[in-house]
Amino acid sequence: MKLTLHVWRQKDAQTQGEMVDYTLDSVSEDMSFLEMMDVLNQQIIEAGDEPIAFDHDCREGICGMCSMVINGQPHGPQQGTTTCQLHMRSFKDGDSIYIEPFRAKGFPVVRDLMVDRSAFDRIIQSGGFVSVGTGAAPDGNAIPIRKEEADEAFNAATCIGCGACVASCKNASAMLFVSAKIAQLDRLPQGKVESKERVRSMVVQMDEEGFGNCTNTGACSAECPKGISLENIARMNRLYLQSSVSPT
């Protein structure tokens, strides 16, 4: 299939970027989106230009490295998939595709389609861990946990930290990511111990990174490749209120 691609090109964080148009003539519908980008880069290199920089790693939807906003949607039009899992069969011959980086104050553009998502690392460093001494690996059934709680903790833990929630939110809010990490630990006995301190420090760090506030549009959850539930945000809000009223 033949495609017209409009790709955001930006030399570095200090330089103003712009959309640049490219044409690809022989795209197979069996290619993944990132393979199509590889083919485009090959064409650009052969023409003597700088290839397009974009994040990618595992290419099987689990590392959270790939990003890109494709036709206005993080990770593209297919729900519940990352960009690397998106295939060109989702597009038609003759389509125009707009490819942009995730846009948020907390995710500054490094180059082209690459953004700096280290803000998420700093949020995790502020409290997204269990600091109590856990000792050696205990027996799996040493601490009884209700099946429903274990399932929900696991669901929250499936967040790969890609940042699509921020990219899709009209307010560039990171609350789905932060709440998933908080809920994942709060639902388990080992993590519950520090829930109040954790929620306070992670929310403070989230605000310091310049992310927006949640207005409950639900776009984050709808665009999340792992389908993280909005209920995690409600849980985080409840924990934050509780910790504000009773800090210890």
């Binding site: 206005g72 992310f211 924990l239």
Partner: protein, 229 residues
């Protein structure tokens, strides 16, 4: 936002209940042939003259509304700053509904409507009672008598609702209020952390029911007085 919004939802329910009394009055007077029906007058007189309502609840209501409005603008400014450069193609992310993405627009229409509503009812009432009224009550028995008349509220309401343009503005505004409420109601439970597990579906249904019934009842009040009273 959530707490002030829930507070305003309570006020709206109370306002609707009193307004519906005027519909009961209208139906009794115009359909069922009653010679007298003063339910709305009595309720309105109580609200307009009870010191607790006037000097305790009314200032709290005004403060709650101002806080809700102020926080909406602060939130909007902070959220706009969180994405200084927008998408060239536009943000096409899937969202729940139009209302959730446009609360500032629906809220703005409600503020505009409140301007008309205050011009119609609240400003003349407050001016007569606490501004000009005070100066003239002593030497103007007519003003004093009008203000003391328990039965003046219903005719004033009916008179206002006899203008088609005003009824049309009221109806359109309440449709947009419904959209604002539909998102705001469920959103407030999400923000306060109540929306969890088995409650989520119920809260969404209650939100839709509230957002349909309350504005519809206000529209019914306007239409009944326009067509029947």
């Amino acid at each position: 936002m959530a707490f002030s919004g829930l507070f305003l939802i309570l006020f709206l329910t109370q306002h609707m209940t009193i307004n519906l009394l005027s519909v009961v009055d209208s139906l009794r007077l115009n359909i069922f042939g009653a010679e007298e029906s003063n339910l709305f007058n009595q309720a309105a007189y109580f609200m307009g003259n009870n010191p607790v309502v006037q000097f305790a609840l009314q200032p709290v209501l005004i403060a709650g509304f101002m806080l809700h409005m102020l926080m909406a603008f602060v939130l909007q400014a902070k959220n706009a700053a969180a994405r200084p450069d927008g998408y060239q193609y536009g943000n096409k992310a899937r969202a729940y509904n139009w209302a959730s993405m446009n609360m500032l627009i629906t809220g703005g229409v409600v503020i505009g409507f409140l301007g008309l509503h205050f011009y119609d009812f609240w400003i003349p009432e407050i001016t007569a009672k606490y501004v000009t009224g005070k100066a003239h009550i002593g030497d103007s028995p007519a003003t004093e008598a009008i203000l003391a008349d328990v039965n003046r509220f219903y005719p004033e309401l009916v008179h206002r609702m006899k203008y088609p343009w005003r009824v049309a503005i009221y109806c359109v505004s309440f449709v947009l209020l419904g959209l604002h409420l539909n998102h705001g109601f469920q959103s407030s439970f999400q923000t306060t952390g109540v929306s969890q597990g088995k409650y989520v579906a119920g809260i969404k249904k209650a939100s839709i029911a509230f957002a349909v019934i309350v504005p519809l009842m206000f529209i019914v009040v306007a239409l009944v007085h326009f067509f029947i009273s």
